[in-house]
């Protein structure tokens, strides 16, 4: 699934609903695979943070005009030192390039707008499809 930029060949695919327990279970499952594949501590922290932000963005922003019972699709592929995750929502998408820089002084006191920035800071690669409703993140252990 996904375009050529955000495609993850041979990925596991899960339909995820906006339920805290389901979200936590899926993330724990992915991170357990990541741990077994050799990722430790700091890397696990980074991947957890990025996945949480991406899933939150999908439901809170991507599905803001949709019902709470509309799922997102999560794809993941874990191999030694390489974690790939894609999250696709069913919303209209957005323009990631138009996001303001939350680290600017004038934006520091704003309580929102840091999710994508954190995803990019902690993952090796973050790519959006053209529509902006699908993000692929990759963590490559150094």
């Amino acid at each position: 699934m996904g375009d050529s930029i955000t495609c993850i060949p041979d990925a596991e695919t899960v339909e995820l609903f906006n339920d805290r327990r389901a979200i936590s279970e899926l993330i724990d499952q992915i991170l357990s695979l990541a741990f077994d594949a050799g990722l430790k501590d700091a890397a696990i922290f980074a991947v957890r943070l990025a996945i949480e932000e991406a899933i939150t963005n999908a439901f809170v922003h991507g599905h803001s005009q949709l019902g709470n019972d509309v799922p997102v699709t999560v794809e993941y592929k874990v191999s030694k030192g390489d974690i790939q995750i894609a999250i696709e929502d069913q919303g209209p998408g957005f323009t990631p390039e138009a996001l303001p820089d939350p680290t600017l002084v004038e934006n520091l006191s704003k309580p929102f707008g840091r999710g994508v920035m954190l995803m990019k800071a902690y993952m090796t690669e973050v790519l959006f499809n053209a529509r902006g409703n699908r993000v692929k993140m990759r963590y490559l252990a150094s």
Binding site: R20, S24, A42, F45, R48, L49, E52, E53, T56, V60, P102, T103, L108, S109, K110, P111, F112, R114, G115, M117, L118, A121
Partner: protein
């Protein structure tokens, strides 16, 4: 009514808030935490608020947003918010987002309390 996600105590005139959850990720919980701390701020004329991050392993950008809102509300009442005991990995999140420039952050609880006391004298 949902159970509180906070443990609130007093150190002299300072209100200390500690988190019950190790992971502050869930939007609903974060909103509840923000509402509870806001209620504390509103009850005090000049809130001296210390948020103790001991035992917190993970937090999301939504949690950062809630802290910013709390900081803004504390400032509006000429109060002071200090954060302490932040795990190094979480502190890095504050650095990456430059929120270490916005918040008063202390390595230890004692350091934060000393700063509150110094400001009061």
């Amino acid at each position: 009514m949902s159970d509180s996600r906070l443990k609130v105590s007093k150190i002299n005139e300072i209100t200390q808030v500690e988190f019950i959850d190790r992971n502050i990720l869930d939007e609903a919980n974060i909103q509840a935490i923000s509402d509870e701390i806001t209620a504390i701020i509103e009850q005090e004329s000049c809130p001296q608020l210390l948020v103790n991050f001991a035992n917190v392993d993970h937090l999301s950008s939504a949690a950062l947003g809630a802290l910013i809102t709390i900081n803004n509300k504390t400032n509006e009442k000429d109060g002071t918010l200090r954060l302490a005991n932040i795990d190094p990995q979480i502190y890095e999140v504050f650095v990456i987002t430059r929120l270490n420039k916005l918040f008063k952050i202390h390595e230890t609880l004692n350091e934060a309390v000393d700063e509150f006391n110094a400001a009061a004298n």
